[in-house]
């Protein structure tokens, strides 16, 4: 993660481990699904299965938030949804700008889970003047020239970069200069940012390469342990990737604004 770490004497009394923070959204999603099915309570075992982690980890994670469960019973779904939302800061409104409206930018703009959780697409921005005014996901695309004004007027603090790699640093600099302090970068580039600005990246090609590594290893083992019985049996929950327990990265290229 990218938090500047110069002086930070252990954040508040609330020192939630980064690995835990990365899993909270996962729990929240599972809880939301339960909530929609009007399930009142859930055990750590059940919730862990739904989120794809093991129950000990889940309980440990929750223990950093407080004691929100009831021994012998489990957790109150609605209450937990609220607590996690609050902890993640989702009880407030986060206006977001998406820069680079190619296929990827459009996909992001159309992404539902976006709007649903406190995030609001404040603006779609593209460098192509031909895109200006064109609606994507019901929102008219605006030209890059408007970037600073939009950020300041709407108090945007989160920016999403979905431009080609070549434009990313420049866009990043403008976002930061205008006041954005958190950036989600889909361009396959390392962004340089000042202290205090958080950057997370999503990079498709990195994810594929990691998969290739493991795939190769599987092939090698297979050849080595040649003819061994195929161990395909019990179902395993996926492990998340790094970054967020999912970490990952994936760089998806915005197919350039034509």
């Amino acid at each position: 993660m990218a938090t500047g770490r110069a002086h930070r004497p252990a954040t508040r009394s609330r020192g939630i481990p980064e690995a835990t923070v990365a899993r909270l959204p996962l729990y929240l999603r599972a809880l939301t699904a339960l909530s929609e099915r009007s399930v009142p309570t859930v055990s750590s075992e059940e919730l862990a299965a739904a989120a794809g982690v093991n129950s000990a980890k889940l309980r440990k994670d929750f223990s950093y938030l407080g004691s929100y469960g009831t021994r012998g019973v489990g957790y109150d779904v609605e209450y937990l949804v609220y607590q996690i939302s609050r902890e993640l800061g989702l009880t407030q409104d986060w206006p977001v700008v998406i820069v680079g409206i190619g296929n990827l930018g459009a996909a992001l703009a159309n992404y539902g889970g976006f709007a649903s959780r406190g995030f609001r697409v404040a603006a779609l921005i593209d460098a192509d003047p031909g895109m200006a005014g064109k609606p994507v996901a019901g929102i008219p695309v605006q030209h890059t020239d408007e970037l600073e004004k939009i950020i300041q007027d709407d108090g945007v603090s989160i920016g999403v970069i979905a431009t080609p790699a070549g434009a990313a640093q420049q866009v990043c600099d403008r976002l930061v200069a205008a006041g954005v302090t958190s950036i989600l970068n889909f361009a396959p580039t390392v962004l340089n940012v000042p202290e205090g600005v958080d950057v997370r990246k999503v990079d498709l090609s990195i994810e594929l390469q990691i998969l290739a590594f493991h795939e190769q290893r599987k092939a090698g083992e297979e050849a080595a342990a040649d003819g061994a019985a195929p161990p395909v049996a019990a179902r395993k929950q996926q492990r998340s990737t790094g970054s967020a327990d999912q970490g990952p990265d994936g760089d998806v290229p915005a197919v350039m604004p034509a």
Copy 2:
């Protein structure tokens, strides 16, 4: 499983840490950029800066691969590119299928870095019969019915799921049944897969929620340490790696051929 490829020339014992594997693609990208600029050698310090990590970590990472550097000099760029590529399995061809050709699927299909590194889009698949035959990124979309045949005929072992959440598990099951053993999942769902199948996920809303958490914390600290240097002060693009560990799990992208 398709290609049996016993391959273990490396003198190192098996077991490169997962965290290291996740960073190799990053180093590779930075090295590729250097290679294109015909830079012959690079020090751990320089390369680390380009990849956005610190040099001690980089050296430790490389130490798991073997001793490929020269004391007092640095690393030979071309040689390292080759060694890392080999370690990641990128010296072989990896056919990939992308299922779900919406905006996201199209963005992925158009992604250049895809084809560049051993990955080849073997097929684009969508459930909408209306899409069939329509070319995306120069490749005609095929109907879901063809999925099994394509995977078997092309020996595909890596699948990318870019469908809506509701279809993901079903698509996943079919991919796995047909022989896919590595999946990159863009749908916001936890996938259940049998033992031996790798899943990595890329989830936009999780990334945003993590950013929101840190953003909220910044706001809190600001209020607490009131009056302290406004986060909007020294805002110049710096090459500082100070706040630089970007990425979810500590993966950082580097320059890439646009």
